[in-house]
Symmetry: C2
Subunit: 344 residues, 2 copies
């Protein structure tokens, strides 16, 4: 392996010049004559010379590596965020190293360790669902490696983060349902220690209060936001003596489950129960009825995270006060929540 790969030393020997000359020639340094440069470039091509970024990075104290740590990459959301990250990062000359925590803190801790020892120059992270403490991230800080959170952030921490205005998303959704004439709106919520679910719920509550509607305990259903949870939640709601006429769910997956159960029991949406979800998953415009949802600006979130990282790099040394970028959600009204035929 090392045998077949030509190094800068090999080039130098064959050309009868010093290693440093080759190095400078390859990087088009002004202190090297054109003729020498051309000789170097020619031989480099002939020998299939491949610069070793590891070695260069070692000397320069840089790796050009950006670490990304997400709970998983199967869904729609993180995938798009990663895409956004990749786009901007590669423009700035960075390669990304992706780790998945699989929603598991232990894994997450290990991943952080891995990224650090890979000498990443920054870490972009969205916390796992099971993360409740911050110790493993402190380590990153101590090494003065830029750390940017996105989407999922531990509350009350003074960290750099790019988040969606989840409260606003929940608020707009619920307000829309109210405007459609719904008077008993249930909420399917996720784990409340996660900022995103807490805020979506808060938006829901705010909208109800604003409309002078009561907050009823029996209209809340907390779960892990899977399709199955949605089915269970809908069963629970339909079993109520006085079932709701709308559901605002903090996830599209549980809303599609709810829809299935609703249909199975012979009801229709939006006529019997209006539905609104969150995340604008691909399938929301493919179900019947199409599901109202909230777009999370996934790609933009990834891009902003990288930009924030780049800013931190620039301002390294100076006192960098943590910044929080808040993206505005986009309510996408589809059939599942349209009870009024608002024509014209």
């Amino acid at each position: 392996m090392a045998r077949t790969r030509a190094s800068i030393t090999d080039l130098a020997q064959q050309l009868g010049v010093s290693v440093s000359t080759v190095s400078r020639a390859l990087s088009d340094h002004p202190g090297i004559s054109d003729s020498t440069k051309k000789r170097v470039w020619k031989l480099a091509k002939e020998l299939h010379y491949q610069p070793n970024h590891l070695a260069a990075g070692l000397r320069k104290g840089r790796s050009n590596l950006l670490g990304v740590l997400v709970p998983h990459i199967d869904g729609h959301f993180f995938t798009l965020v990663v895409k956004g990250i990749e786009t901007i990062a590669s423009k700035a000359g960075y390669n990304i190293m992706i780790c998945q925590s699989n929603e598991d803190v232990t894994h997450e801790r290990k991943n952080i360790e891995t990224l650090l020892s890979a000498q990443v120059e920054g870490i972009l992270v969205s916390m796992s669902r099971t993360t409740r403490d911050f110790k493993h991230f402190e380590k990153v800080r101590k090494q003065e490696i830029p750390l940017v959170f996105f989407d999922r952030v531990l509350d009350g921490l003074d960290v750099n983060a790019v988040v969606l205005d989840d409260r606003e998303g929940g608020y707009q959704s619920t307000k829309h349902l109210i405007a459609q004439g719904c008077r008993r709106i249930a909420h399917f919520g996720g784990p409340q220690h996660l900022n995103i679910y807490k805020n979506r719920r808060q938006g829901y509550v705010d909208a109800l209060l604003e409309a002078g509607m009561p907050i009823e305990e029996e209209l809340f259903f907390y779960c892990d936001m899977t399709l199955e949870d949605g089915i269970a939640g809908m069963q629970q709601m339909l079993a109520l003596p006085h079932p709701p006429d709308a559901i605002f769910s903090a996830s599209d997956f549980s809303v599609v489950g709810a829809l299935q159960e609703l249909k199975r029991q012979g009801f229709r949406s939006p006529q019997d129960i209006a539905l609104a979800g969150f995340s604008n998953e691909t399938f929301t415009s493919l179900t019947e009825p199409m599901l109202t949802s909230v777009d999370q600006r996934c790609e933009q979130m990834g891009q902003s995270a990288v930009r924030l990282f780049l800013e931190m790099l620039e301002e390294r040394g100076s006192i960098f006060s943590p910044r929080r970028i808040v993206l505005q959600p986009d309510l996408l009204i589809r059939t599942s929540s349209q009870r009024l035929t608002t024509k014209g």
Copy 2:
């Protein structure tokens, strides 16, 4: 930055031992006394020592990096494959570096360059749609870096690859449609220079021939397999003097488009036209009717690709004859293709 990070040298100085002793102590080498090891470990913890994999990699001639190059990671398929790759790779001690070609050869060439200079120990790649030559991959070979293709492979090349038996998938789908009583089956196909689409089409043709049915030119519709293409394809089919009674599409996206158009024109599936797609996208079990599709064993494909890479590493030096792993598809029969109420 380098300032704040303690190196093995710093440890050595503070402890008054040599650098090599620290190195061996950290790796629990038997030639170091327990007391020394303990002193080293203690100080390492105190100084937040972080091993530098770049330097270690340089010395050992290894990077523990595995390159992954995919057309994109937004869909369902590549995402799951990457997940499979990550799982096995991280078990084997590898980190993965992901690049997206965005279905563009130029980008793909650049990505290969990037991965090579990052000193990856192997490259797993699924070609972009626009790739028609092999030159940039030859470079990888010349450097004797294990190269494994998955899913999309240029035909007729003697390379290592993990692919799905796409022909079999197309064959089973079509055969199933025939068994359901369909007599005029159309095919929505993708770019035919890609092995996957060519083979899916071949399976379709084989099944028809086997059943003694004619291959009719007007029943083929070639496109890029988007939802919009599916709509256009369905329009074309419904405009025929004698429309088909079933469609086998090489992608789920175009089949969902076809379904939408079908409904819009007041027809029903499977009653009027039976539908079968390919890829088992998440949404296939959420539409109405649920869509028959072919599962591509995404995660298994990723896992197999890594395993193939590991095998190549082991057998490096000896003559390694290219291997091709063929995974068997899994036909998932759902409502959109069930015309017979096969009970019991």
